[in-house]
Symmetry: C2
Subunit: 392 residues, 2 copies
């Protein structure tokens, strides 16, 4: 039975190998069976129940859920945002404080359904923490493969969940593909960044936005983009809402990358059909620093079909956007701040006038404390008896 389709070449597949990759190398995508009359709600707050008409037939299991999803969509105002409406989808309030938890939960249920007792991922950041936490929750033997040069600041919030952590010497992209293909030999379900069930998890961001806007879609959705799995999932979610006739149109998708590592942006702007490895990547937006995104080609194809585009933002703009978001109450990691930086750049181009723009805040600022060094702390010293002078 065909249940998957390659997001890159369109070939159908039964994914019998469980590798989630097409023979062409592209990522297999779950072929949702959308019926007219399918519906979604926010009734229970459980993704798998509220959105079951649109998700794969995984069995809801509260004993392995951590309460992922159901995040706020909050308006954001400011002088540089005049002339259009900006809404922030705050994914930093997920159980491990990033959007990754949605996809991790679905891959975990899929792993359990398929009889795996071993769970893992290749990541140094948000996904590693998320997979470690959910693996711990479900009592699976969980492994996280990280690159050999990972700093201590990043590894401890992963190890605290108790997974097996291996620092792996060698090419990181090789590791990504080798691990995905490893299930049969090692018996490990690798919940990597663009596997099909993780992409299904990201769809739920689209469903929530649609409901939170009163069953409407925004004009634009801006997504900080690394591997490409998240933006693919969000776009797929909106597309399926249209297939179910719940909406007539879908939003324009905008993939934002840091100029210091922008392989998808470079390929898109140069009209290429495939991404090339980005050499010497360097950006403060570590969480989206992926020089050879596994879903890169699929994102290019998706953006062209969708009428979307890409944008790259510079380091200084990312840092300033991080600060500007914090000055409005949202402390996000630098990678998430790229979406505000992108909005500001698009505004200058006049692209957003009169529109509704949703920007995805992918992960918490607490994830990356050393980025705070970029924001000098102004602190005054006073004595308790001279407080009057402070407030006069």
């Amino acid at each position: 039975m065909t249940e998957f389709v390659c997001a890159e070449c369109g070939r159908e597949s039964d994914n019998s190998s469980g590798f989630d990759r097409c023979v062409c190398g592209g990522p297999l995508e779950y072929l949702s069976l959308i019926r007219r009359g399918s519906r979604i709600s926010l009734d229970t707050g459980c993704l798998l129940i509220d959105f079951s008409d649109f998700l794969p037939p995984l069995r809801y299991d509260s004993s392995v859920s951590l309460g992922e999803g159901r995040t706020p969509l909050i308006s954001c105002e400011g002088p540089e945002l005049e002339g259009f409406k900006v809404l922030l989808k705050n994914e930093t309030v997920n159980p491990t404080w990033s959007f990754k938890d949605r996809g991790t939960y679905l891959t975990l249920l899929d792993a359990i359904k398929r009889g795996f007792s071993r769970f893992g991922t290749v990541s140094t950041g948000n996904m590693a923490a998320s997979v470690a936490a959910y693996g711990a929750r479900a009592g699976l033997d969980t492994s996280v493969l990280v690159s050999a040069d990972i700093p201590d600041e990043k590894i401890r919030p992963i190890t605290v969940y108790g997974p097996r952590v291996a620092r792996v010497k060698g090419d990181y992209s090789d590791l990504f593909y080798k691990s995905i293909g490893s299930a049969s030999s090692w018996g490990v379900y690798f919940s990597n960044s663009d596997v099909s069930m993780r992409v299904e998890g990201s769809k739920t961001i689209a469903f929530e936005i649609f409901l939170q806007l009163g069953e409407k879609v925004p004009d634009y959705v801006i997504v900080p983009t690394s591997s490409g799995g998240n933006i693919r999932g969000i776009e797929k979610g909106f597309r399926e809402l249209r297939e179910a006739r719940l909406t007539e149109r879908t939003p324009t998708m905008i993939a934002v990358q840091a100029s210091g590592c922008s392989p998808i942006h470079q390929a898109f702007q140069n009209g290429r059909e495939s991404v090339e490895r980005f050499h010497n990547p360097s950006t403060i937006a570590h969480a989206i620093e992926n020089p050879l995104p596994p879903s890169g080609n699929s994102v290019l194809k998706m953006l062209r079909r969708n009428g979307g585009t890409t944008i790259a933002v510079d380091e200084e703009d990312i840092i300033q956007a991080q600060q500007r978001l914090a000055l409005r109450g949202f402390f996000v990691q630098p990678a998430s701040a790229t979406s505000l930086a992108a909005i500001e750049k698009l505004k200058k181009l006049g692209s957003l006038n009169g529109s509704t723009v949703v920007s995805i805040l992918t992960g918490s600022g607490l994830k990356y404390p050393s980025a705070l060094d970029k924001h000098p702390a102004q602190v005054i010293d006073v004595s308790i008896d001279s407080l009057d002078s402070l407030f006069r």
Copy 2:
């Protein structure tokens, strides 16, 4: 018009000074007008709308909300938890990753209603970040007073939101009272730990638990306790549900403190009516290290009326509980881990058999990265070609 009552001596007051303190020194509590037929729901996800029958008449304003509350209640299992049911109320998924955001939102609305353009708090941790974020969100002139010895690790996640931060030399408790009484002279609304509207905010934790349990109350609610404002609010919430006849009984409240700073526990166990300053406090649970809790006496009184109790837990037990929670997918700050440590201690006493226990996870583990030093990280080094050896 009487709208407030002292939680300590029972005197009624119109709180005309706006100080939120009784002439006896006790904290004034908002006198809720509970009507029979009052109801609560989780319909909109906005605290002030869903729970309006039970909250002060503050005007809901989405432009200053950050999407606080509506946190998951998640079951937790483990060999040491057999014989009773444990549910974790995960407050770490609030907008600034602690329970403080509920109360901060209500105090902010109160400040705006009363015409303040200046907002502030006295805190070095969760509350400071929360007040800084909400003050920024609302565009108020926001001040955070911290003690002079605050480490850099704690101050930067506050300064990022852009408040005026003053390190104040002098006694910290004096600062607490001096700041609350300062509104008239300085024109600053101080959203301190046990002001009346903050306590109203904590009530919403009780309302959510009640609804998440299918309109039932648990047998016990365990709350890591510092100033005492949060446990007072949660108990008040359950009590008001009973007044509205939505429940016949209320849960038994358990205040947990660290043995290294346990003024409420000491007073309660010694049968005293007032807390005494705890000398030389020292605990890894910084967020509840308050040697002279301003709501201490009111908590003692509340616990005796409620049939509740106190418990103190040792450093090693806190650290182990933090690890054990992480090994189940919940990475909390040490102060929050005291509640699991308390459960384990209560279990040994046989107190919990057959009961339903809700434990409040007050703040994220990311708030206090250096506590991770207590949990040695086990990391293996492998090469990409020897991964087989890892999984064999």
